[in-house]
Symmetry: C2
Subunit: 387 residues, 2 copies
């Protein structure tokens, strides 16, 4: 199988390029290095240092014998994706090439505009490129469980759902309620995909993924192969951020009451799930949804687990709740359905409790390095505008 | 009251600038002339000739004594709206400055990108500008009844609705299902407004308007004051298009079975409704929805009414169904709620049956002119991509 991975320099994109190569697939990676350069320019850095793209690809060749092709380009550039897909004729295109930080999308007008434009223009150009070549090319689109918000109903794993409104029944698009401009850009992606599937029979898997944590996959066996690991207020996600806080000896900082509950999965399990979905594509013209996570926890439970894992390794850890910069429910019902991945034989390999220890061990050698950046961890970007 | 009208050169924007002036309000109009220039560049034209913006404003001054300020600018230009709103400190901003053609948005990749970028970037910049000056400035946002699609439930006039999903009840965003990239851009506007209302207490009226028809308002009493009147496949809406077809003696062309049912209103009633909503603003921080139409008809009923009106004026008219270029239900349930406008004292002044005659009379003097453009009427833009 030939797969184009858009966003191949990212936290998930790079390990996926490795995993697909390990499975014998041909990989063409594309990235404009937006996350890499924006994180550095904002005064933060990946906790675990990562080599430049070319060196990492060279390392993958030397260590694993993988032949990963890489193109540095912006997928929103007119004509680029059309020419690439025309030339490569891939079996699948993985779209991870989106601005992926909720706090970034809430910093101000220009970041809101950039998030919406980058993400939606990329989506439109990708769909049109695929349509013009062959609508049966499988597009694996990275959405987020965050598109659903935290509803009182059980979150279905389906683009449509039956609903009763004012006593009348109808089939509606599965309700969405996002919590940031970033999350809305993902909701809008979903609507555009659904619509284009209806009018042009594009073939897509819409992955509604929960937050991913972890430093390693089976292919990341040497420091020259590491994937980025963000921990600052803008680019870090909660589990990774807590692990960094434990390592550098600052308190773990849950936002608000910490009752926010989400479905999580390890980097290794994310790679496993993505590979299964690519190797078992939908039928041509089918649009399928995959809710993708392995364990459900509240933020407070995660803080406790990170504390326990770190203390077992001899670290001293405290937990200090901070004011929630976001607008979100801090106590809520949460019951998402998950059927597609199990039906394809997916079995989670890692449990958060165990994985946290190996993450902390991986981070400990970089304690000095990370400590220089400790000022970028606490949240400064507030959802609610103060006038 | 001081009102900034974005899109003041358009079919609705210009009559609204006139109506607000007639009511004694101060009007600042803004337009980048996108519709005007794009229609001309596509080889079509307004059926009723319209003077350049400056001449029309001059005519409004000479005939009515109105002092309308006009700025030719693109509202997506960084900093423009912020400076304008800072300087003018308006009581309300009316946002009609969006790409408003569904067929245009379905022509191809670049038109899809343009529609999404223009409409959403304008929305974001407007909201951020208003927030930075005063979130209690009333934003009157033009949405469309088309955001709802044609659901089997009664369309509520509310941003949220109670729904039962899988046996569990929740308050969800009123379900949307749009029929084109243009319509989705309007849905996305709505989501962004709702979200920014939640996080920043912006004050908005979201008008879900049905298709508007008509040539005249109380202020359009001379040809130098005419508003544009589009009839081609891209820019014309159904009632106006049928009237032009009747005038030039080509068959009226309903798309498909013609059972598509919508809520319509006259240009005069649209102006009446918009003025009422502006003069009776929501409370600061409130987000309210107005479903805006006066009569519900199917496309086939409208064709019959136009035929009758034209025949009463001595014209010969036939009806010839054409293949539907769109993807839409041609027979469906349709029952939208309408409460807000009646609660403000809105009473429709025109009925379609009567208005059609005066429209046809207004168009007859331009029969020769319009006949030159008869080739632009039949639909060429297909929703479903042919490969």
């Amino acid at each position: 199988m030939k797969v184009i991975v858009l966003g191949a320099d990212g936290y998930l994109g790079w390990p996926l390029a490795l995993r697909l190569s390990a499975r014998g697939h041909e990989v063409v990676g594309v990235d404009n290095l937006f996350t890499r350069t924006t994180v550095e320019n904002s005064g933060s850095s990946s906790a675990i240092p990562i080599p430049p793209p070319e060196s990492r690809i060279e390392a993958a060749r030397n260590i694993h014998g993988f032949d990963i092709k890489f193109i540095k380009e912006d997928i929103t550039k007119p004509g680029f994706l059309r020419e690439l897909i025309e030339k490569e004729k891939p079996d699948a295109v993985v779209d991870f090439a989106e601005q992926r930080s909720a706090p970034y999308s809430m910093k101000g007008e220009n970041e809101k505009v950039h998030t919406i434009v980058n993400n939606l223009v990329g989506t439109i150009r990708l769909i049109e490129a695929v349509k013009s070549v062959d609508p049966s090319i499988h597009i694996l689109k990275m959405g987020t469980m965050g598109e659903y918000g935290t509803p009182n109903f059980d979150i279905p794993e389906s683009p449509f759902v039956q609903a009763i409104i004012g006593g009348k029944q109808d089939r509606i698009i599965t309700p969405k309620k996002a919590g940031s401009i970033y999350h809305y850009s993902k909701v809008f992606d979903t609507y555009i995909f659904l619509f284009e599937n209806e009018v042009s029979n594009i073939t897509a898997t819409d992955i509604m993924q929960g937050p991913v944590y972890g430093t390693r996959t089976s292919e990341i066996i040497h420091e020259s192969l590491h994937t980025r690991f963000d921990f600052d207020e803008t680019w870090g996600t909660v589990v990774n951020r807590f692990c960094v806080e434990a390592v550098i000896g600052t308190p773990l900082t849950p936002y608000g009451k910490g009752g926010q509950t989400r479905g999580f999965l390890s980097l290794e399990d994310s790679m496993e799930a993505l590979t299964l979905l690519l190797e078992n594509p939908p039928k041509p013209g089918e649009y399928r949804v995959a809710n993708q996570f392995t364990e459900i926890y509240s933020i407070r439970q995660i803080a406790d687990m990170v504390k326990n894992a770190a203390e077992a390794l001899g670290l001293k850890v405290s937990i200090q709740q901070v004011e929630n910069p976001r607008i979100e429910a801090e106590q809520h019902y949460y019951n998402p359905e998950i059927k597609l991945l199990p039906s394809l034989g997916f079995k989670p390999k890692r449990r958060m409790e165990d994985e946290l220890k190996s993450m902390i061990k991986d981070l400990l050698p970089y304690k000095e390095r990370i400590s220089q950046y400790s000022h970028v961890i606490l949240p400064k970007t507030k959802w609610r505008t103060k006038r």
